[in-house]
Subunit: 231 residues, 2 copies
DNA sequence: CAGAATATTATGTGCAGACATAATAATTGT
DNA sequence: ACAATTATTATGTCTGCACATAATATTCTG
């Protein structure tokens, strides 16, 4: 016995080792917390913390009374962090640039109205470009609900992106993100400086503050862009 | 006083409320755990649990001695769950289908060798199609290192996808995922039943078991595919 | 024997107290 | 004034105990 696993990370490591080594095979019921605690020479709370962490990673399924078992099909959960674009660009060691293309109050097209559930309201429409080292990096097409973002109408967004302003000044409670690929239209190709029809990575995000829609944004990245995540 | 926040979820709710209501504005230092505990009428451990959860969600930054402050730019962390393709298809209510296109032992092209760090070794190359309701859903192009996946050479992968077999039989310790967009080549278009040059959503994943590479897979999804995630 | 009531059990969570650790602030020595 | 040492402080975590809760197993009852 290598003796005592005294902290929860050590216990977690040992649990992971047993899962990877197939000592606990997928589907297996593992010993209960109390038993593991006495085996590891620590308190049950410590085992609980460790198992909870592993379960959050998707490798264990826990149910009261039923016990803890190794997940049959560990649903890999890639956590991709979506930062402010400026930050993203600067972290790649590039110089960030920003240019406003359009700013208007308009009644949005049907898909946007449907996604934000804003009926006939006119929304603030922002189109802007983000640059990395002078080259187009991403095209931002955003609709903002003034109801959900007080003070937004006073912002020109000529030098600061809506991206950053909203994040700092507008609270939100929930949102959803969709990632997809689409072909560049002629207009998009012109803005991004690529060929029409080029495959572009698209990120569409809706943000809500309770029941009220805040914003919907579609980011079209220049060709070659990829998002990375670890497992 | 709406009286005691007795469990950590209630404390978490209250903390989130204060952040959203800007009672604690971005950048602000919030009271320390002990103070909050006495304010909320619970133990410090309970406040700790709540704050830790909020910090994990990216809304708080915590540092020893420095204290806890509201994140200036809450890095949105979208957690996308990457399940087995069969599962993904069936969850959409579609009938799943699978067809093996190619199975061979080959020395992989340079990019794959570089990504897996396998030098001159020959790897098992699998190309397969996944169907949803009879229509091509995703094209799988996979390289498997027999060193990292014992028993894989005995598998025909004619009716079961490598995707599922590996997940169930091969342990791994880490992996990385890249999401991108790319144009369909003529061959890919033929397999997926779309036009050449169509924008396709691509997912490339490398998997490792400790220091040894297990597999690298590129999934090309049929046009229109999107990945969803919540914030 | 079917179905309802009850007991059992594993996880979920709370508490108070203790010590560990990292980061900052204050003090000291040169 | 500056650098090195020491004190302080907020978070991080462990412990042992208690009770809550959900899910299963068992017993009781018509």
């Amino acid at each position: 016995m290598t003796t005592a696993f005294r902290n929860w990370q050590a216990v977690q490591q040992e649990v992971l080792r047993r899962i990877h080594a197939r000592e606990w095979a997928p589907g297996d019921l593992i010993p209960n917390e109390a038993d593991l605690a006495s085996e590891f020479g620590c308190a049950r709370a410590t085992v609980n913390r460790a198992l909870r962490a592993v379960a959050e990673a998707g490798l264990l399924d826990r149910k009261r009374k039923a016990g803890t078992r190794v997940a049959l099909q560990p649903v890999a959960r890639a956590t991709l962090s979506i930062a402010v674009i400026r930050q993203e660009v600067e972290e790649k060691g590039a110089r960030y640039g920003y240019a406003l293309l359009e700013r208007s109050m308009t009644r949005p097209p049907a898909p946007v109205r449907a996604a934000l559930n804003t009926a006939d309201a006119t929304l603030l429409h922002i189109r802007a470009l983000h640059f990395a080292d002078g080259a187009p990096y991403a095209l931002e097409d955003r609709w903002i609900n003034p109801q959900g973002a007080p003070g937004v109408l006073d912002q020109p967004f000529e030098t600061t992106s809506a991206n950053e302003w909203l994040l700092e000044h507008t609270p939100y409670t929930r949102g959803d993100i969709a990632l997809s690929a689409q072909s560049a239209t002629v207009a998009e190709a012109r803005d991004l400086g690529c060929d029409a029809g080029a495959a572009l990575f698209a990120l569409t995000r809706n943000t809500w503050n309770g029941p009220v829609a805040v914003t919907r944004v579609r980011l079209l990245f220049a060709p070659g862009h990829s998002m990375q995540a670890d497992l």
